[in-house]
Symmetry: C2
Subunit: 330 residues, 2 copies
DNA sequence: CTACGATATGAAATCGGTATCACATCCACG
DNA sequence: CGTGGATGTGATACCGATTTCATATCGTAG
């Protein structure tokens, strides 16, 4: 059933029906007629037909590197809360860390399918930049910074710096790093730099043999911890770029009789829910993921409204959470 | 730029352009012309305009009770894997466990916005049923069973039964339950029944004082464990409906000097990633969440293709994972 | 040589809505 | 009493694609 069939059924004009759904001027008796016919027939207007003319999709494209990650799903939840209230739906794309798919999703979103885009990218290539420049709808980037776009990011450098410093303040001497891929500016590069700064400030040096790069998984953290402990002089402190990596490292320690924190301190970033209930409760850094989603969504809303070309970067701060995994040695 | 402007620019007819994007008969020289003009202009056809005529949205509506849950995001990942390969995108709705929003999402999806729906519901009310009956596109339900629909579900009863039995086989005498809301047939009712059956088979009785109902969170698990231990005779075994609840219970034990598994065994369901690295590694039951997503998506695809009215229920089995939290007492 | 199926083509109808436009009331104000 | 603003109305052009239809061309089987 389409609008004109329905209009006939309700005994009103097509225009009246359209106005009923939109907000236009309409006499009360017609509203009643339409409401009654709606109940009778179960008619619902077609969204795509509406979009052709009005251009409004009420859809926001969200590009995520993966779905089953605690931090990412918290961000998404924030986004969903804000945009849902405004009547927007999320068109979600899971790129599975494959940035060809990031590219193809951006292509997809150019097809007038969405009113705006939120991008949780890990890496920016030239292709990203050129494609982003071609987008005809507002774009907000969460988790990374890119000039010319509204961004919400975390103080990754500071978080890593503070966590490392916390451990070093307890007197450890051979700090190690299990970082993330350097191409990921936020979680990879910035956190590594934060670690390095803290180490250097403590008068120690960053030995490449004590720096590993892991994927964002427990398994990878486990493997990299194993490699760290194959060094002749064992590390007495490991800063991990994420809590997942830290959990993997801790598992390795447990299975190999290495005591946390007495033999080695372990610190992570992300404040995962499981940190509190780990084998040894994990010291970590709380990043405001949900807030990032909320603020990013708000930015997008205001950009869609004003279409202003002024872009800003919102950097969220962090909170150190100290638990047993970095408790003072006796 | 629209199709006719673009056709003029490319020096071909509108029909030729449409055929280029669809697959129709088209001479090679025209394909070349169009390809060249495409590069020059960056034209992309409008999806909604296409949809008006062709009815195909290439969108699948996915209704989730929450986003930041490990089990749910695994299911979603499976869905996304399968549907992504077939060129579908996901229109995600997070209902935040509010089933009014489940209802309104179903309403939304009736507006010709999606080609199919996947529903991860927790509860089925009459309103659900009547609305589902009105849907004009195929619907697949994951995690619950509903007659007349394609469903993928887990053997919740069996999983709970086996986990409880595992613990009882170690000689515990005062089993307790921290279950989920009874309205949730799968995670609430079925798991409770599995627990009860195992307890009764062991010649014990299910005392209501040892049965608590928690929300799906660690915090709630913690609170309910506290209540269980306020009984005069302490439980020596707690079956928890989810790993999150189990983690909360374990946290309570740890903070109160209750030894796991010596004082109390704890078992969960879900095989969360953190189970292995918990304070005491958690015995749990692996449910094939990702597989559920994959199979559900496949069902939906085949239902969209055949539009057959034959519905089936696929029940996935489970694997017991035994760890320290239920190790035999000495 | 003819007939026919396969391939190719562009004009025009169509999808189901919204936006515009011309026009009708009605009430208030000077 | 005339004017004008606010409200209300339906016919129709329009959005940007796809699909149909009538028609053309060509190779090949009979």
């Amino acid at each position: 059933m389409n609008i004109s069939e329905f209009a006939k059924e309700a005994g009103v004009s097509v225009s009246a029906v359209s106005r009923y759904f939109n907000d236009g001027y309409l006499a009360d008796d017609k509203k009643e007629k339409i409401k009654a016919a709606l109940e009778r027939t179960g008619y619902v207007p077609s969204y795509s037909a509406r979009t052709v003319r009005s251009k409004v999709t009420k859809l926001i494209g969200v590009i995520l590197p993966k779905l089953s990650s605690e931090s990412i799903s918290r961000v998404t939840e924030g986004i969903s809360d804000v945009l849902g209230k405004e009547g927007f739906e999320l068109l979600l794309v899971n790129t599975a860390n494959d940035y060809n798919r990031e590219i193809s999703s951006l292509e997809l979103f150019r097809q007038n399918r969405v009113d705006g885009v939120i991008l949780l990218a890990s890496v920016f290539t030239d292709l990203h930049r050129s494609l982003l420049a071609k987008m005809r709808v507002p774009v907000v980037i969460i988790g990374q910074q890119l000039k010319g776009y509204n961004c919400v990011c975390h103080n990754d450098f500071g978080a890593a710096y503070s966590m490392t410093k916390l451990m070093l303040s307890k007197g450890v001497k051979r700090p190690a790093l299990i970082g993330a891929n350097h191409d990921d500016k936020a979680a990879g590069e910035d956190r590594r730099k934060g670690f390095e700064k803290a180490v250097e400030e403590a008068g120690l040096t960053v030995d490449p043999k004590y720096c590993e790069t892991a994927k964002f998984s427990m398994e990878s953290g486990y493997e990299k911890a194993k490699r760290l402990f194959s060094n002749r002089a064992k590390p007495d402190c490991i800063f991990c770029a994420t809590d997942n990596i830290a959990a993997g490292a801790m598992l390795y320690c447990r299975e190999n009789g290495i005591k946390v924190p007495d033999d080695v301190m372990i610190g992570g970033i992300g404040d995962s829910r499981f940190g509190r209930v780990l084998y040894v409760p994990l010291s970590t850094v709380h990043l405001h993921y949900k807030t990032a989603g909320i603020e990013g969504a708000k930015m997008l809303l205001s950009e869609m409204e004003s279409r202003s070309q002024v872009h800003r970067i919102l950097q969220l701060e962090y909170d150190i959470i100290e638990r047993e995994s970095t408790a003072k040695e006796n």
